[in-house]
Symmetry: C2
């Protein structure tokens, strides 16, 4: 992830006439802004500085930290590598170039090339800011494949490709956001017909607090919709006790939770054990999303679904075990 000047420019927080809290001087960010933009807590930023000697922000007249954009950019790269399993101690002692190598190795080349063309087509439209063209293109593939195959075979790898393109500096963050938004429109419109399904099992969908991404949840929903199952989504960032109460109120058979890669695995394990202990054994808990691959130990009573295909398999399995009453 080489930091080109243009790229930095786009990330420049603006000279705020009087604001200290959020923004700061043109080319530097205050600690709260860095927390926002990197997802690393203030405590972590400070303790890394103490322990590893990075980042080393400048200071304003008041002794407060001011992070140069170059360091913020590097922190972002580090965070991403951590999200895919690396440990901070290693990463923080690496040189700039070693980091770059690691980042690019991350972008493993796609195996099949059939999906390559689609990905190029999509990325091209995103880069050209042709949102309606993008939507049409996605819709066509959706119709061709059907919702489930579209989600499993096209959308999942596509999301990875988009993230990788962003890491290579080919896409801006806002382009990624705009892509996600259009994808959402496409998926939601395809899900509308099955909004009134009534067959078993009954799903409750949500993400935990601190989860930023909503796409994983939506993909789960899109996968379940054509199965005709009943699902109720609570949306993102639902406190644990609320999930428990909702599971009871909606009489859910399965509580499905989505976790993106950036979710703290520590917190995830704690939360899952927490939820598991409040809702009855008869209610299953399924967990999906990028995080799963990083979860070492199993959590008793919680079913990890490492991929969306796994999730469908688990659903079929459930139906075998629970023949209609």
């Amino acid at each position: 992830m080489q930091v080109t000047p243009e790229r930095m420019n786009l990330l420049t927080e603006i000279p705020a006439t009087s604001a200290t809290t959020t923004a700061s001087i043109a080319s530097h960010l205050a600690i709260s802004a860095v927390e926002r933009d990197t997802g690393l807590s203030k405590d972590v930023l400070r303790v890394w500085e103490r322990r590893y000697g990075f980042p080393v922000p400048e200071r304003d007249t008041n002794g407060e930290r001011l992070y140069p954009l170059s360091q913020v950019e590097r922190l972002r790269a580090i965070k991403r590598l951590m999200d895919s399993g690396h440990r901070p101690g290693k990463l923080l002692s690496l040189s700039e170039s070693e980091l770059d190598t690691l980042s690019s190795r991350q972008n493993r080349p796609r195996r099949g090339d059939e999906s390559g063309d689609l990905q190029r087509q999509v990325i091209e439209r995103v880069r050209g800011h042709d949102m309606s063209g993008l939507r049409q293109y996605l819709s066509i593939w959706l119709m061709k494949q059907g919702l489930q195959d579209f989600v499993v075979e096209t959308v999942a790898p596509l999301n990875r490709a988009i993230t990788e393109a962003w890491m290579r500096g080919e896409l801006e963050v806002f382009e990624e956001r705009a892509y996600a938004e259009q994808l959402q429109v496409v998926l939601r419109s395809a899900m509308l017909p099955s909004v009134n399904s009534t067959s078993e099992p009954r799903f409750l969908l949500a993400t935990l607090p601190n989860e930023v991404s909503s796409l994983g949840l939506l993909m789960m929903q899109a996968l379940l919709a054509p199965e005709g199952v009943q699902y109720t989504s609570l949306g993102t960032q639902v406190p644990i006790p609320e999930i428990a109460a909702a599971a009871k109120a909606f009489d859910a058979d399965i509580v499905a939770l989505a976790f993106s890669a950036s979710f703290s695995s520590k917190q995830a394990v704690a939360s899952l054990e927490s939820i598991r202990s409040v809702i009855p054994e008869s209610t299953k808990i399924w967990v999906g999303g990028e995080l799963i691959r990083r979860l070492r130990r199993d959590i008793p009573g919680v079913t990890p679904t490492g991929s969306l295909a796994d999730m469908l398999a688990a659903l079929r399995q459930w139906r075998v075990e629970h023949p209609a009453a």
Copy 2:
């Protein structure tokens, strides 16, 4: 907001066998969990304790704070009152009962009673967890009124009514979430037909980082869609520089930002000034959402739209000033 035992029960974080970070012992929350659930930062929680003597959490064997649920509940009430303009110094010195009075006074009675019936109908369905019934009911009103009137005259007051019902303890948080999710489905399906609009002006929609609610953004979108304007949404939590870059890339005439009541007004002002200074004067900035009423001073070059109706008026105004080329 009387804290009934049942209500507390629902809010109970679960005895986690080994988790300290997120959850804690049955009836108590660790500081990070309180931060999550109340939206008050750890710093604020600690400094309030020091200065005002509330909250006064217990301590675990390790000297770490453990907040009883009753205090968390009270903190939530305080936060809500702050969101509607009260100052912490006053609120924190109030007794339990005084807080209750203030909370209930908050719920000003609806003026017209015509909307009262609809609200009762909706709340009844939400409480009965009849999500498809709710969706149907909302859809009927949507068809009756048309999207724009539905949003302005029905959804906006309805959202307030739901929040108030929650404050009175008539609705659980998860019920509010489920409601929001269904509303989203209804609104999005109504917006689909106008997804390919091409007429002027060109909108860019987003919320800033730290914004939790996505409903305000969606309502803005729903209002704009029938006008045939072109809009691109970047979704929630978009960093300022990204918004700026996107405004340029999409050649936006107007950048519209949504702020919920719980957004820090300090941060909002700083961010808006920040954005204003990076994008060209010719690109307008419109701001909507509950927060607006709490903003004291004007921000030069930023148009506040205190209500959704205001926003439509502003749009008409813009069109007068910018006759099609």
